[in-house]
Subunit: 351 residues, 3 copies
Amino acid sequence: MDFKVSDIAKFLNGEIVGDENIRISNVSKIEEGKPGTLAFLANLKYENYLYSTKASVVLINKTFVPKEIVNATLIKVDDAYQAFASLLDLYVQAKSLLKTGIEQPSYIDSSAFVGEDIYVGAFAYVGKNAKIGNNTKLYPQVYIGDDVTVGNDCIIYSGAKIYSDCVIGNRCIIHSGAVIGSDGFGFAPLENGNYKKIAQIGNAVLEDDVEIGANTTIDCGTMDSTIIRKGSKIDNLVQVGHNCEVGENNVIAALSGLAGSSKVGKNCKFGGQVGLAGHLTIGDNVFIGAQSGVAKSVSSNQIILGSPAIDIKDAIRAITVYKNLPKLRDEVIQLQKEIKSLKELKLNSEN
Amino acid sequence: MDFKVSDIAKFLNGEIVGDENIRISNVSKIEEGKPGTLAFLANLKYENYLYSTKASVVLINKTFVPKEIVNATLIKVDDAYQAFASLLDLYVQAKSLLKTGIEQPSYIDSSAFVGEDIYVGAFAYVGKNAKIGNNTKLYPQVYIGDDVTVGNDCIIYSGAKIYSDCVIGNRCIIHSGAVIGSDGFGFAPLENGNYKKIAQIGNAVLEDDVEIGANTTIDCGTMDSTIIRKGSKIDNLVQVGHNCEVGENNVIAALSGLAGSSKVGKNCKFGGQVGLAGHLTIGDNVFIGAQSGVAKSVSSNQIILGSPAIDIKDAIRAITVYKNLPKLRDEVIQLQKEIKSLKELKLNSEN
Amino acid sequence: MDFKVSDIAKFLNGEIVGDENIRISNVSKIEEGKPGTLAFLANLKYENYLYSTKASVVLINKTFVPKEIVNATLIKVDDAYQAFASLLDLYVQAKSLLKTGIEQPSYIDSSAFVGEDIYVGAFAYVGKNAKIGNNTKLYPQVYIGDDVTVGNDCIIYSGAKIYSDCVIGNRCIIHSGAVIGSDGFGFAPLENGNYKKIAQIGNAVLEDDVEIGANTTIDCGTMDSTIIRKGSKIDNLVQVGHNCEVGENNVIAALSGLAGSSKVGKNCKFGGQVGLAGHLTIGDNVFIGAQSGVAKSVSSNQIILGSPAIDIKDAIRAITVYKNLPKLRDEVIQLQKEIKSLKELKLNSEN
């Protein structure tokens, strides 16, 4: 795609300083700017790059006054970072609008309901009685099981799979390979050592504005629902076990795992590779450091770290000592020697 | 689906107390019961809910005598929990029976053999000389490579992929996105720092009654087979490396990884995010706690924890001290001071 | 497939000792040899198996002189292991040659360019303006987004997904379920606790000779590229975050995760389940032990272990003390008692 600088300035309600007729076809970082691209300067730490950048256009704050000659065309706006972010959004939306219509071959069961202005890529599958909302995009090879409901304005990328009966809210984004609603991991041990599968007949529910990363798996509830509440963002390769409830606006980083039936409050953050045991309750605003293993429930507003996870200040103190454990042990050995010699001295002085 | 209470009672060989004509369309927990659903009471801890539940029907043990008036229709059975579980199984089977026939477009190579009463979803692929047993279900977008054998009564969910030459037993369940038989991770370092791929020409074998979770990966053997023995259950996002042998009736939780050539005995349990180094031998009935890292072989009947994993009792004792390491260090510093002053006193008293 | 021993000897430039007319259809390990298979003897530790193996043909070094009677037909070559490896390569290549042509139904956009001698499996998808090089194989259900470039001689296995704008070099192998170019995990917190998605408009670039494991995910850069440099091999279920740069000839084992914007040098090795924090710089020839958590940048030629990762020698020393922490604590308690009694003795002697 290709944009005129005057159109961009108009969209941003900005003022052009320099060549109005320049066209740009991409964006760049100011320190790596290339001709034909647009960059931005918000953090003055990067000011020097403004005078040397090869980017054709740079967004700057209205209040900023350059100290040297600038070769790039400038667009002066209220907030350069926000303006840049809104350009990226516009670009993504424009690209997204190109995906529309129903490619063939695809499979939409005759009992399914599909809304207006949807995109269905080739080899996508929509099962019996499924409902797909307006403006929703199902990329190629997506699987929507029977009786699934998907809201409006969702994007489900190539090869994501949604098991039957699941419910997806509005404006959700589900990345390639994510699996929503697979069977929970429930087996009853028999006397002979074999396991009997416990039927998993619940579903998974994603509320509005949820984003699920590539190859992440969200199991269905055993009888009820596994729930991801609105606004939560889950990274790639995360496992959410059956009957979990992830509250609003959680951010869960890659390779984390939540065992079954745990409930997480609002506005929590999980670092990467965190593990949460089953049947826990995590409060609101809890931050869990990367690679932590959480074995107990956690009240609100805690920051925890470690395996098992403890208060982050205690964890950091313990780590500091841990790294020097051999020294500590040597000191104890030294103390033992000194005490021994003190005792011998004592003994000698008594004789 | 919708069931008459009299049909349910007949199937369970139970006795109805209350309205025989009620119909139910779903199940619920007794504490969250809704009209039109069936719940059960097995654990007397939940007895109070029996008198207030909104569930229309409740399964109870024959020996149980209510202390108050019950609004729900009761079905008295020998074992309420078992009866409930068998109803769930029946429900799943009934739903499963609806999946039958070969949807189009799908791709079944002319040299492939498919059994009776199978389901092949749209966009599923069955390669050359592959054999699919009776009553097996291949959901949409499943991939079955050349020369693969799949037994009877299997369910392979949407988008699972089975590489060529693999062998799947009877009654196996493979969830969406699982990959069976991908190349083992084997590379020979060359003198110039590059790596040369070592050809991986073995396969992966799942024996009967194995269940593989969503997005789990089982690599093929380098020359022989990677084997998952009968009855083993593997959760989501687990990695099983080339030439591993997982014995009968193992339960391996999510995000665990087994490096190449390790052998695990029977009836072991792995918590989530466990890592097993390569070329280890793990005995029977070994339990490995979540996030453990196992670097050495383990004999039978051990319970281990930690990274590196040690006997669980030792691990818990070490963790207890670990959490208080700063206090321990402070105590050592205090001891050093006291010894120093004792020595000085000694020295003074000698002068 | 089925080969004559004389053809194999000719290909290997080897000398036959025994029956020239034997045919083999598979390979085996010498200790598990079966009739109709070919094995090799390189490590003399296995010499005894040579005299008892049931393999029909065994490759041996020219310099090797058997001490007992050998039943198998021998092929004498310069280097038995190398000869065996090249046979495996030949076998894989021969099998691979069978995959050719464009199966139907598949979807190749009219604006896409596809090279010569390619294989496109059924239900594979090639988007607008995508370019697929010569001799490249797209297995069934592969997804190639718009404007993607794939080089020559690549193999992309069933169900791998490549988002739009990504670039794949020559001779790359991408396993089933891998996702290349999914959105980076970037969200700006708003005052009300919600998160606003930061548009991710960059791409992912794999240079030549890269191998990506099953269900691994490589996110796109926010504006620029996430880069995997030539010769790097990434195992299954690995997460590479946005804007990362993985240098040449890295080997990254399963279930590892690299947070955003980290840069890794050349010829590094990551064990399984390693976690790398964001915005780090890792030098060349760095080895990171399994389950390590790397929170700081690492200079070249380090071997590190632990969470947080430290020099491996220090880590092993700390682990040794850690396992005996309860004993160390008991020793400190004992010292406290002894000091107390020494002080009391002192006090008594002064009175």
